[in-house]
Amino acid sequence: MLKEADEKIGTQPNRSIGVGELWAGGLRKVGLATQHLQSDQHLPSDGCQAPRSLAPRPCNRLVARLEAVGNLSRDDREAIHAICRDAQAVPVHRSIIRAGEKPEHVHIVVEGWTARAETLADGTRQISAFLIPGDFCNLHAAILGEVDHDLIALTDAKVAFVPHEVMDDLARERPALRDALRWVNSVDEAVLRAWLSSIGRRDAYGRIAHLFCELHARMTLIGLVEHGCFDLPITQEMLADAQGLTPVHVNRTLQALRGDGLIELAERRLTILDMVGLQNAAGFDPTYLYLGMRARR
């Protein structure tokens, strides 16, 4: 059995740097921090072009998510860039934080895919969230004192470890950001409810179809979809662990979705060939993602 998350990424000594310092440093270096993100562009496969029109800023996915729900000032945006500036590389299968540990940071995914996961007594694993670039985890976990699940890298990833005090200051000083973060956190809870409904009530075909509709919407929001194509850089085993299926069942379901002309999946890149058909197969209603709506004060 593939044992995931055997090693944990340590937090770096630079976590002790003061809030003001981090802030000022971030703002000073924003102009220099623009070369990072080129590496999240993937090679195109089977004629489906990888996205090219990405604003090359660290953590611009989180800014994209937050701007979708609130009017951020230039300073708000720079503040987000600043806290993501020192994102750390996390190799695939490593854990970022493990169940039982004290959450000292908010984790922001800058590149790659990560997941919340729980390992059950019999060794099986349940993934309860896919966290893609611009998603964050453990925003309010400091209150609880310890986390109850693992956060693991599903691909090579870059993750920002932001001290809770920095997030608290940011929320206090920047009301628009605070509201946008609350909004995003609430949408994450809605996504969890949608997964619960799917696993409880949909068959394998409906679950995978629903997940693909959701991922398409989430990837669109952060600018990673082009002509209905996006990277799906995870294994069938990971899909299976997220949807309460076996990898063989996932493989068979993907074949059925292909056979019905709804999707193409090759070289870890998903193309949605018939969006209406896929939405109908899933019974997908995107309301729970609150796309195109604005946070209310």
């Binding site: 059995m1 593939l2 068959d203 394998a204 294994t235 069938q236 085993e237 299926l245 076996t246 990898p247 063989v248 069942h249 493989n251 068979r252 074949q255 059925a256 056979g259």
Partner: protein, 78 residues
């Protein structure tokens, strides 16, 4: 660890396993095949259909299957 591929033959035809899974031994591969067959059968039964004519062939390379598991072997019919 060995890379095992789980090729499926059933009602919707042949589904090749392009990815495979790293598992410690043939016994673990057999457990995985059993779970896979039971999961597929269970999903179909919920839709009112039971087809036990399928099989999974587990490969560990280019040679013949190291396990052939017929769907009917994966469940006990009382």
């Amino acid at each position: 660890m060995t890379l095992y591929r789980f090729n499926l033959y059933n009602g919707i035809g042949f589904v090749a396993d392009e990815e495979g899974r790293e598992l410690p031994d043939v016994a673990a591969a057999r457990d995985e095949a059993l779970k896979a067959v039971r999961g597929i059968i269970a999903d179909e039964v919920l839709q009112g259909r039971l087809d036990l004519n399928g099989r999974i062939e587990v490969m560990d390379g280019e040679g013949p299957p190291v396990i052939t598991l017929a769907f009917a072997e994966a469940v006990e019919i009382a």
